[in-house]
């Protein structure tokens, strides 16, 4: 058991005493290898002897081989422990060991956990390339948006009902954090809640999306992660790495259409060329890390959700991409056609420039490099390349809703939970001339978005079923921006020139990462990062609890603010803090605790402790 995981109940410790003390049963580590070795030959992937299929969790339960939660009632256990050789599984083989049986028992007793999306059966889903315009189901109860029509039909089909709608204060908090990365000020909150206009949510959406600078400074983090910009990684490099911050910031301010944005990146100007140039490492490096191979990997992953890392070394074992595909992309950018290397060994074969989807068109190896890049940008953003729009709308859906329609977001060949929804959002994006703000608007305007969060997918079930949005932890940047705003402790100046910011407080994304931001998950961007860690680790909790950066921020913030308020003024201070941090007023009980903390009159010490306590509330750190 991990040193931090001690609050986990010593699950089934008695059964598993002989195995790994204290460690709960884990499907992937403990069960899957066992099923593979002892059961799979006869009960998976087309072989379903005795009508027992173990392909998926549902199939296993459907075969009535296991009763989740009750191993003693499960025929599977009966069969593997049978004393009758004719009955006992596996037949004509050694019986399972006691340890193996204990694993199976514990696994069944704990509810038959399964790895999400895992199936023994060969994948049957083939991700389409062309865009597709799905037919929209009829609207229910005034839920008329395209998203809601698709999602409602999906709920019907799964026998689910839509989650409850969120109230105005929850809405403004979530929307502000999602769209501009900032908490609303208490005055904005009050005004919004008091507003009687029936279309006030639409107005708020428009207002936030119209806040060009705040929008740009929030989404800068998302794009820096994706484009490996604002690199803070190792320096054993010999150039070839150029920041694109100026270009990126302006593109976000201007809401540059996404197809143009990508054309600027693939067929760049000197300002935007950093992305395709990659990093030139010093000394001898593996052929799969040459800058032209980085180009192949990066444009595939970021714009198409294709993992070309395996295929950069050898034909991929995990999907259909071949070494020639990776090198076909590499040949586009290479000054001279590169020699294909298999597992770092030269093959004698010279690569020819080729796009990953050759059905969209050819790239002429004989054309000059700039022309090849221009052509690649054209093919990437080709109207018939549906994968292009699907990939970005899926990323945006994941940011706003907590989980992708296709998951993980970098494996777009996986089956979406709703093909129609993905295709609808993708075609809408193309129809809007690739306006990303419109895509965001479409999603946040839906009832699906404006509903209460549901628990993250049940880890015990194999197939994901959409039930509603999933709460997300603030990113390091969102957390610090919130703390800066509330305590008045924003950094003095940005790390680079971001033009005239009208005296707005400096945002976390505009300064170099400090140890706290690092700890909370701001990456150094040596690799592309497309999702941040979802859970708070104990080392992070330690940094928040006794780390110097956090302590200094709340101390300084308290000194800025404490005015020896007493009585009503102290009450007002607490009330304001709750509205600023949580978008609600404190309950009487909370007020009592908070007042006890800040002291009367308010002391800097007390206020700093209250700041800390509020910032540590899960309610604060989650966007829900």
């Amino acid at each position: 058991m991990h040193w931090l995981a001690t609050s986990l109940p010593a699950l089934a410790a008695t059964v598993l005493g002989a195995l790994a003390p204290g460690e709960p049963i884990d499907f992937a580590h403990d069960v899957l290898p066992l099923l593979r070795a002892r059961c799979a030959r006869c009960h998976t992937a087309g072989e379903h002897k005795g009508d027992v299929s173990m392909d998926t969790r549902a199939a296993l339960i459907g075969s009535q081989a296991v009763v989740p939660g009750d191993s003693s009632a499960s025929p599977l256990i009966e069969r593997v422990t049978s004393g009758d050789p004719a009955e006992r599984m596996p037949p004509k083989a050694d019986p399972l060991t006691e340890k193996e049986i204990a694993v199976l028992r514990a696994w069944i007793d704990e509810g038959v956990a399964w790895q999400e999306g895992f199936s023994f059966a060969k994948a049957s889903y083939m991700a389409p390339l062309k865009p597709r315009r799905p037919e929209l189901p009829p609207a229910h109860d005034g839920r008329t948006s395209g998203i809601d029509r698709i999602v409602d039909a999906y709920f019907d089909q799964h026998g689910d009902v839509p989650p409850e709608a969120i109230d105005d204060s929850a809405f403004i908090r979530r929307l502000s954090l999602d769209v501009i990365g900032l908490l609303p000020a208490p005055e904005e909150l009050d005004a919004f809640v008091a507003d009687a206009a029936p279309d006030k949510r639409a107005q708020l959406i428009a207002r936030l999306l119209g806040n060009r600078r705040a929008y740009a400074e929030h989404w800068l983090t998302f794009w820096n992660d994706l484009l490996r910009n604002d690199y803070q990684g190792t320096g054993y490099i010999d150039g070839g790495r150029r920041a694109i911050t100026g270009w990126l910031y302006r593109a976000l301010l201007d809401n540059e259409p996404y197809d143009q944005f990508v054309r600027d990146l693939i067929s760049p100007t000197p300002e935007s060329e950093g992305f395709i140039k990659g990093i030139k490492w010093r000394g001898n490096v593996n052929a799969s890390q040459a800058t032209e191979i980085q180009f192949a990997q990066n444009i595939s992953q970021v714009f198409l959700g294709i993992n070309m890392k395996c295929a950069s070394c050898h034909d991929s074992f995990i999907d259909n991409w071949k070494l020639a595909d990776a090198y076909g992309l590499a040949a586009i950018i290479a000054d001279t056609p590169p020699e294909i290397h298999r597992c770092d060994k030269p093959s004698g074969v010279t690569a020819r420039a080729k796009f990953v989807f050759p059905e969209l068109g050819d790239i002429d190896t004989a054309e000059p490099r700039n022309e090849r890049l221009r052509r690649t940008a054209e093919l990437m953003t080709h109207p018939e390349n549906g994968r292009f729009a699907r990939t970005i709308v899926n990323r945006i859906w994941q940011r706003l809703m907590g989980r992708g329609i296709v998951q993980p977001v970098d494996v777009m060949s996986n089956e979406p939970w709703s093909v129609d929804l993905l295709d609808y959002l993708a075609t809408q994006l193309a129809d809007s001339h690739y306006d990303l703000k419109k895509a965001i608007e479409l999603i946040v305007s839906s009832r699906a978005y404006q509903s209460r969060c549901v628990p993250p997918p049940d880890p015990g079930s194999g197939d994901y079923i959409f039930r509603g949005p999933i709460a997300q932890r603030m990113t390091a940047e969102q957390f610090l921006d919130a703390v800066y705003r509330i305590t008045g402790t924003a950094p003095e100046k940005p790390a680079a020139d971001f033009g005239d910011r009208d005296g707005d407080p400096v945002r976390a994304a505009l300064v170099a990462a400090d140890p706290l931001m690092r700890s909370l998950g701001r990456p150094n961007r040596e690799q592309i990062v497309t999702t941040r860690p979802e859970e708070l680790s104990t080392l992070q909790a330690l940094d928040l609890t006794n780390g110097a950066v956090m302590a200094e921020l709340v101390e300084r913030g308290a000194k800025n603010l404490s005015r020896e308020d007493a009585g009503d003024a102290a009450r007002e201070l607490v009330d304001r803090l709750y509205r600023a941090a949580l978008c609600r007023r404190p309950t009487d009980a909370e007020l009592e605790t908070a007042l006890n903390m800040v002291g009367s009159p308010v002391t800097a010490e007390g206020l700093s402790d209250l700041f800390w306590a509020v910032f540590m509330l899960p309610e604060f750190q989650f966007i829900q």
Partner: protein, 484 residues
């Protein structure tokens, strides 16, 4: 105990906790890492029976010259006009507690305890074209040559992930002595002081200053324990009193509160005392106190006694300082040996006297060795980085091993199931001092260390659908001859 633990609010707490446990386990699997083995990805992996429960890696950062320490060659004392190419070692050899082993002068204390360890002289590092400490350090600590397309975990993080803590109140992976901020090449250092794709939970608990280690497990600076406890109490009260908000995030809230509570528990556990060097009797403290590294060894001993799993203590990498001798090599090596000799020997003796050495593996290692003449290996394209080049000795700054040599390097292993008083591998007596028998790669050395700890060198986790092995390609082979 969870902060949400309130029966009136939680009708089915038991059920909830069960789900929480299952969720964490499954999240781990789903988030990528999945155990497979090199031989048969379908068949799981058989972990060896451990011979050690804890491991202390004593890191000689910056390239410790083997001929000046554990693999002495022909000694040539300084004299003006001495030709550089006649210099193999700048220290004479001395006897050790083992008959057939001599090491360099300046390591008299270690010499006396060498009968408790195994000396490996045939550790061979790759030539990476351009010798950079940071790339070799990354390679040594993760088993992978950077750059990599996924973030490779430090070996301590692997051990933390697979074995977990020995004592739940002591972090499983502790790193002592290395500052990661305000030093040169800090990003390079951060790149491998990480759990990489395994996740932040398994990353190093950093204690750059051993005598301030207690501060890392104490309330923030300037906050009295009373105030700290009051703050915590009020915080719990606020959590309890908050209307639970959206029910949808209950699991996530609980997971976050668990992390907060773990942190608080660490800051309040009795084991915290292990971090406090001021509690060590004065005469004992002084035995270790040769500097930051020596005090780090003392801290490591205290933490192992309290139940630490994996600890790295470093002489600290700072470009051109300490073992990174680009000039003045002799003088610097003399000082470095003064810093490491007593505490390493003392640590081995203390562990032995306490009956802990048999189950604690102590490893002394460095990213590569040094030579007077050769950068990399003979014939390497690597650029010579000596800052005190001279064909003939003119002044003391010329005298020393200033080139980065990757052809052979020394490693010492004490306890943890290793032979006592043994020697493994050999190097040529004359330049180039390449390995002449039993070469040991980083993969094989890691495999040995992991095997001693009870982790199969062939284990892997799946990341981005492909296996990432604890030793490169799962091919690391434990060196059986080193085990007792």
């Amino acid at each position: 105990m969870l902060y949400l633990d309130d029966a009136s609010r939680e009708p089915s707490r038991r059920e909830f906790l069960k789900r929480l446990a299952a969720a964490s386990a499954a999240a781990m699997a789903a988030a990528a890492p999945r155990l497979v083995s090199a031989d048969d990805p379908g068949d799981g992996v058989e972990h060896p029976e451990p011979t050690a429960d804890a491991c202390i890696l004593l890191w000689m950062a910056g390239g410790m010259a083997a001929p000046e320490t554990f693999d002495p060659k022909r000694y040539a004392p300084f004299e003006v006009g001495l030709p550089a190419n006649e210099i193999m070692s700048t220290f004479p050899a001395i006897d050790t507690a083992v008959d057939n082993i001599k090491i360099a002068q300046g390591l008299e204390n270690i010499a006396r305890v060498l009968d408790r360890g195994t000396l490996v002289r045939s550790h061979r590092l790759p030539d990476l074209g351009h010798i950079l400490h940071s790339r070799h350090q990354y390679h040594w600590h993760t088993g992978y040559v950077p750059p990599q397309t996924v973030a490779a975990p430090h070996i301590g993080a692997w051990i933390a992930r697979v074995l977990g803590p020995r004592n739940p109140a002591i972090p499983a992976f502790i790193d002592i002595g290395q500052r990661l901020d305000d030093v040169g090449e800090k990003e390079e250092l951060k790149a491998f002081h990480t759990a990489g794709f395994l996740g932040a939970e398994y990353g190093p608990f950093l204690l750059p200053y051993p005598d301030q280690a207690i501060a890392a497990v104490r309330p923030p600076k300037g906050m009295t324990p009373e105030r700290f406890q009051a703050r915590e109490r009020r915080y719990r009260e606020l959590v309890q009193r908050s209307p639970l908000g959206e029910s949808g995030s209950r699991y996530q809230q609980a997971s976050m509160l668990r992390a907060m509570e773990n942190a608080y528990r660490l800051l309040n556990s009795p084991e915290r005392a292990a971090f406090d060097l001021s509690l060590e009797p004065k005469e004992h403290y002084e035995k270790y106190d040769t500097g930051r590294f020596g005090r780090g060894c003392l801290l490591a001993r205290r933490l192992v006694e309290a139940g630490a799993r994996f600890i790295e203590v470093t002489t600290e990498y700072v470009p051109f300082l300490h073992w990174d001798t680009h000039e003045n090599g002799h003088t610097t090596a003399e000082r470095m040996k003064q810093e490491i000799d007593r505490p390493i020997a003392r640590l081995v003796l203390d562990l032995d006297e306490r009956g802990l050495l048999d189950r604690t593996l102590v490893v002394v290692a460095s990213e590569f060795s040094r030579d007077m003449m050769i950068e990399g290996i003979p014939g390497s394209a690597a650029v010579d980085q000596s800052r005190a080049k001279a064909d003939f000795m003119q002044e003391m700054k010329h005298y020393g091993l200033h080139r980065h040599f990757t052809g052979s390097s020394s490693v010492v292993l004490f306890g943890g199931g290793m032979k006592r008083g043994a020697l493994y591998g050999a190097t040529a007596p004359e330049r180039p001092c390449l390995v002449t028998e039993n070469p040991v790669t980083v993969s094989d050395l890691h495999a040995t260390l992991l095997t001693a700890m009870g982790v199969s060198p062939a284990m892997a986790f799946t990341v981005e659908k492909r296996p990432f092995y604890v030793t490169q390609d799962g091919k690391g082979r434990a060196i059986r001859e080193l085990f007792a």
